[in-house]
Amino acid sequence: MYSSIIRPNTWVAIRLPSGVTRNILVTPNATISLGKYGSFPANLIIERPYHVTFEIEDQRPDEKYSRIRIVPASELYAEIFADEESPDCSAPTVDAAKPVISAEDGVEFTLVDAESGKLVTRSSGEVIDENARQTLTQEEIEELKREGSNAGKDVIAKLMLSHTALDQKTSFSLAKYKLLKTKKYIRRFQILPVDVPNLAHWQLEERDASKILDLRAEMIALVGSWGNVHYGGDSVYLGDPMATCEQGEEALAPLQGDLLNGRWLVVDDTGGLLVAAIAERMGVLFPELDEDEDSLDEQARREKRERREAEKEAEDNQDGDVDMADADDPANRAIDGARPKKVRSSDFAIPYSQTNTITVVHSASQPSLPFLGYWDFDAVAPSHAEHPLCRHLMCLTWLQLLKPELDTAYSTPPLTASPELLGSWKPSRRGNFHRKRRRFARTRHVVEATRAGGFSGLVCASTMDPISILKHTLPLLAGGAPVSMYSPTLEPLAALADCFSVSRRTAWTSGTLPEMVAKTVEELERWEGSEQFPLNPTLLLGTSIQTSRARRWQVLPGRTHPLMTERGGTDGYVFTAWRAKPAAGKVAAKGKFKRRKLETGSAAESEAADTPKA
């Protein structure tokens, strides 16, 4: 569960005055430098709350660092509140006698002479100190910033003065002007947690949007909802088969189909952002699952963490290659949080839960999910500290899924060795031996469990042809399971939807197609595709394509309007449907249509809806 307190050694997003966010790792005893905005000790934000606004203060004469303070909301909004109070909100300011920005009432933007503290300008611009009107050079600005006096406010003041046309500005553009300059120089920042919405936003707006296939928040939300992705049941584990090192394949724990539940099949070409979004919806993204940490007092929390780390260290030293299976052991079908005391598990113990899991099929030999690193998870690490994804995320290649016999990891029988022989080996060799056996058992389990099918849903954001993805994944979906596929472009999804067109379905169910003759329902569910019918058109129901777009508005007293500075980029599309279980044989699809006399509630149906769904 994610915390509202900034923990040491976690990734956070810093939102700078410019509105730009940057991700950093909060390391104790570091100095965090915001470049031109200044710098401050990282320890000043550790165990402080997220979302508050900090301001870098002026360095105290006896200190080598700048402290920060929390800016109260009343101060953040002082200017807006002042605007609200002006009698006519629709046309603010223009009260010549009243300074737009005054020093007295603590409003942040004091347009004052830095030396005398005297007010130098008003909205009408009539009291402008002529000397102050000259344009500041870039050098002077730098100088001012270096001095760092008055937290950048006087830089703003000077800059505003330097704008010779200030007095000619309308109140509207004046406000805008202030805002712009403010964004640039005021030394304020916010710390935001790195969660899926924030990471996606950051990657989209400030990094490379193409790396995440332009997956915007609206689309993440739609794809997850239509995929019906949610907590898929309390964790259930297979019993440890207690394989001794002399045993081979025969000792593997058999798959138990009835235990497999709440599993989502995923194809992710967004570097792990999609998997992260799914994991977040399933409650397996954040490293600290025990939420009660927040309710523990500081001391207890720290002790607990230290204890956990100590245990971890001990484990690490125990054997050359301890990995997560040993960190703590799945009990015999134990439930999360109720795991019994640690017993060293055998090589063939399956660390994965049988429920609430994500299965990623990838096309390279290793999964590419680097974004999960922000939540302290590495899908390709040979060993791993405890993380919910260790037990709930499984990865396999398309080759392992479709032709496992060609995959070495799957098809090479496990090593065996007598205890005597094992004892004679160097620890590193022994470690290697166990690692290989564990890898074998896991690969077997992941492949078999995936091939067993019965998935609760399919969610994709991939550059691969969606038709080919569905060809191989439709048979793996449980009846009624949703399919939810994102694409940054419409065409691939349109081609997919066309495979399920009314005319295709009608032709298919007419039972007259030569391709279908003498095929059972099961065979047709594994339809390999033909030119005429790339997919079995009766395997999906309610196919639909949609797109969503959020438009942001500015809401200010008298100045509420859509933002013009909206980022461009692609809209993105989502294809949705549900997996059907077609009845065997020819299915008549006439429908009893009493023309003219429509049934209640069906009057509004479109023509498409009227068409028999064959």
């Binding site: 200190e63 907590y231 081609a495 959020a550 299915v587």
Partner: protein
């Protein structure tokens, strides 16, 4: 709330592999026509009939027995039902039982039997149902998305494009505690329940909860019933309440919410009661302040995310202003435009057979020219004296050559209507109108001077050893590497590897 009966998990959350008796299922009649239904086992008398219920649709009759215990997603054929012996009796079950209000005529027929070859213990065993050729339906597990389109509307509802975005933005996740007002028709409630659900068996884990409020009595009761029918009453706690007046505590206790959704006509009336500190008294209110200690409905140690949903800008302006005065930050207003796209095969051509969906005009310039030439030829032919001296028909021959044999219809053209024509996409015929404005904001936790002193004592400053800079990517990497060298242990270096991988991924 705490029922002694074993709580069944909602079919919305864990539907299992097959349809079950007395549980909600959704029948898909046609593309966008969903009918929610509680499947019943045929067991003795049912409303004066000896057999179980039958659902009648325009695609035929479907005895419940044919829909029970089948895999979800199953296509089920209509059955011939015998209506003769008792005659027809129509019961229009409109809104009579919440959720069962299908506005479809539900007929109880004198017929039962074994559906889909499954053994059905009750009723007239052995009597086979006869498949009717009138059609089929599909049976789907309920989801918030389907429910939203098929629920009995009692108010305006929040649809999936908005609901999904809102839940994403207010960080409604497994284990979250969400306050919702007003419940209305429960569309958003169902999506929320799915979002916060985090199981129930684990001790020490705080269960995800939705605290929902509705002051309209009839709606409250309907929804209460619906929640229990859907086995969601363990997750959603519905309270009959005017939240403007009486706030959000339940049984005097704080729900400790970390997410809030307000779909109310005047959110600003409710906002002061969602404060961390005692709200200032509004004008006209009795000054009983201080009588009871103020209890905030919000989680004291978490940032709280809020969304308000309002149809017009005036409401938004007022809401935003109130939020600012109450200390909410990161206030943002967003409008979601959602569009459905339909695909079709555009079939255009002069020589295509006349068929539904075929546009009989020239598909390109060449075809137009061909046709025009044809017409000209025919015109000239008609203008010519009927019987030329030599008796030959040169004009016709020429015409045939010009049109490449396409005098009338190209019969081969539509052999595969699903392949012919150009694949096109079209937006929805009716342009989706504006739904509502969404206002988002965050309320950070309170940070006192004591909190600050504690934190400062635990993480003293002045011992800074290295600089982490946000500026250039290259320098960032360099600094991070340096930072890593300060630490020891292989766990740290593993993290370092990861960071580098991240940096590369971003690069």
């Amino acid at each position: 709330m705490t029922s002694t009966l074993p709580q069944t998990v909602s079919p919305f959350l864990e539907p299992g592999p097959r349809t079950k008796p007395n549980s909600l299922a959704v029948l898909q009649l046609s593309r966008d026509n969903f009918v929610p239904v509680y499947l019943q086992q045929a067991s003795g008398e049912h409303d004066g009939y000896v057999e179980g219920a039958v659902i009648n649709t325009r695609y035929g009759s479907f005895p419940h027995s044919t829909l029970l215990n089948v895999p979800w997603g199953s296509q089920v054929r209509a059955s011939k039902v015998d209506t003769g012996s008792r005659g027809r009796k129509r019961k229009w079950q409109l809104d009579e039982e919440a959720g069962r209000a299908t506005s479809e005529p539900i007929e109880d027929e004198k017929e039962t039997g074994n559906g889909a070859g499954e053994e059905n213990g009750d009723g007239d065993e052995g009597k086979q149902l006869v498949t009717d050729t009138s059609g089929f339906i599909h049976v789907l597990p309920p989801t918030p998305e389907i429910w939203t389109t098929s629920l009995p509307h009692r108010t305006q509802v929040v649809y999936t494009p908005d609901a999904s975005y809102i839940l994403h933005r207010i960080r409604a996740r497994p284990g979250s505690t969400l306050i919702e007002a007003g419940a209305g028709s429960g569309s958003f409630t169902h999506a929320s329940a799915r979002a916060v659900y985090n199981g129930s068996l684990v001790k020490g884990k705080r269960p995800g909860k939705v605290f929902s409020f509705e002051f309209h009595e009839e709606r409250y009761h309907k929804m209460k019933k619906e929640l229990s029918d859907h086995a969601l009453d363990g997750i959603v706690q519905l309270t009959h309440r005017d939240v403007y007046k009486d706030g959000f505590l339940v049984d005097g206790k704080s729900p400790e919410a970390d997410a809030v959704f307000l779909d109310l006509p005047a959110p600003w009336e409710a906002l002061p009661l969602l404060s961390r500190q005692r709200p200032q008294l509004r004008e006209g209110e009795a000054g009983e302040a201080g009588a009871n200690p103020w209890v905030s409905p919000l989680h004291p140690k978490k940032s709280v995310f809020i969304c308000t949903f309002s149809p017009c800008v005036e409401q938004v302006t007022r809401t935003v202003s109130t939020l600012r005065h109450l200390g909410w930050v990161d206030i943002e207003m967003v409008e979601i435009a959602n569009r459905k796209l339909h695909t079709a095969r555009d079939r255009v051509g002069l020589y295509l057979p006349v068929d539904r969906g075929v546009n009989s005009s020239a598909k390109d310039i060449e075809e137009a020219i061909t046709k025009l030439t044809e017409i000209e030829e025919r015109f000239r032919e008609n203008a010519r004296p009927k019987q030329p001296a030599d008796g030959s028909e040169p004009a016709k021959v020429a015409s045939k050559a010009a049109t490449n044999g396409k005098t009338s219809v190209d019969e081969a053209a539509l052999k595969y209507p699903w392949l012919d024509g150009r694949l096109v996409t079209r937006g929805e015929p009716e342009i989706k109108t504006h739904t509502s404005y969404l206002v988002f904001a965050v309320l950070p936790m309170v940070w006192t001077a004591e909190d600050e002193a504690t934190a400062l004592a635990r993480y003293p400053i002045g011992n800074e050893k290295f600089v982490v800079s946000l500026m250039g990517k290259a320098s960032m990497k360099e600094e991070r590497r340096e930072a890593m060298q300060q630490k020891q242990g292989n766990r740290k270096s593993r993290r370092k590897d990861r960071d580098e991988k991240l940096a590369e991924a971003e690069g």
